[in-house]
Symmetry: C2
Subunit: 246 residues, 2 copies
């Protein structure tokens, strides 16, 4: 099997992404919720209808698109109409995924802005919109990468046991697929590891302050309530699309 | 004294920045040295004389400048001629620093590209120039912030004991100033803490692999050889400039 599809390799990519996500959430949690940063048209004269976070995200994606970020099968942009890459395509390992158009970033962004931010940040406005937006771009990009990695997970699971999924795919049965791809033991293991990492990274090591930068249980909840379910959603969408015209 | 100048507050800012720096170095060390990414004109037709990393850094700074990042006294751009902020100025606490033009980013960038990257990355070229550039922007920004925080350190030290520095400042005696601002005990403490953090964050927690993502001693060396000396350089430059027309 393609190396990228070995479940052990996928797991180590996902494990490595945990640090990036936890770190991004810790950084964001320094600032207040700052609802103004998510308001369309808050700076209408300067940046039009885009919110501050949206503006920062789109500008970042433009630059990253030129650096061919979105040619990689594990990267998905939030915006359409991005500029063409200026870097020549990388000779990459063969893309092991089936061709697909799945991109749940609109859902990820809404979930992040409306549920995750209010959950991890103190309410109110500290005026730090620029820093907020920088952190949000980091969070959104790392969440998107993690969640869409579900495609690799699904392809890998399918290839190991196609018969397990074929009937549900043919029937378009989402619930059955969700049941089949769910591994409660692995999920528990992920949450335990995230708890441990959040406790470690969230501490003010060596500082005088002994309080945590973020409640580690909040980070665990972000995984349990949003990241894991959204990754499973990607897996199911990907398996369903596997049946469409190839 | 201004809260930003309390040595205990400065220390906790510097301690918090350690995570960001260590993390950025760990991320960068995933990739090879990729000398092409630092070559001026490597993509001449697409982005002109700028290197790939330079291009990414300048584009990022343009966006961040619009978000008024460089109005903050602890932020220093690598590029000049950046666009004006579109966000209205933040009502910030009074800037506790003396007016000064010190910006050693050219030095930080050369040091990083020519010394730090070859020290932390395996030699060779893996073609991952886009990811390399994204990591480098993160590293350079976090290093610049840490190193220029020396201004706050110097102002704080000066206000506590002006008489200790006045003669050396008047004489323009860099060596004497370097001696006076050096606290070997604090430096040892910083290095010990960085070692501990690098050991913790650099581990593949929970993964099957037991090897480190980066040799923690390399991170300690980056602090000892480059970050601490450059921070002290900023302190000395700042103290010397304290005497110039205010």
């Amino acid at each position: 099997m393609n190396e990228q599809l070995l479940l052990s390799n996928i797991r180590s990519v996902l494990i490595r992404q945990e640090e990036t996500i936890i770190f991004a959430l810790i950084e964001r949690a320094q600032f207040r919720r700052n609802p103004v940063a998510y308001q369309a048209g808050a700076l209408r004269e300067a940046i039009g209808e885009e919110s501050i976070v949206g503006y920062m995200l789109r500008e970042t994606e433009k630059t990253h698109a030129r650096m061919r970020r979105y040619l990689s099968p594990d990267e998905h942009p939030f915006y359409v109409g991005l500029p063409a890459p200026v870097l020549p395509p990388l000779r990459m390992d063969e893309n092991p995924l089936r061709p697909n158009q799945i991109n749940i970033n609109p859902n990820i962004r809404t979930t992040y802005e409306q549920e995750v931010v209010p959950y991890i940040c103190a309410s109110g406005d500290d005026g730090q919109y620029g820093s907020t937006a920088v952190c949000d771009v980091q969070s959104l990009q790392s969440l998107s990468r993690r969640i869409h990695y579900g495609k690799f997970v699904a392809e890998s699971k399918y290839r190991m046991q196609p018969a397990r999924y074929d009937a549900a795919i043919a029937a378009g049965d989402r619930e059955a697929l969700t049941r089949e791809i769910t591994d409660a033991e692995v999920e528990t293991h992920v949450l335990e590891r995230v708890r441990l990492k959040s406790q470690t990274y969230g501490q003010d090591t060596g500082g005088d302050a002994t309080q945590s930068k973020i409640d580690p249980e909040r980070v665990v909840d972000v995984y349990a309530r949003w990241i894991i379910p959204l990754t499973k959603e990607v897996q199911v969408l990907y398996l369903l699309a596997r049946n469409e015209r190839q």
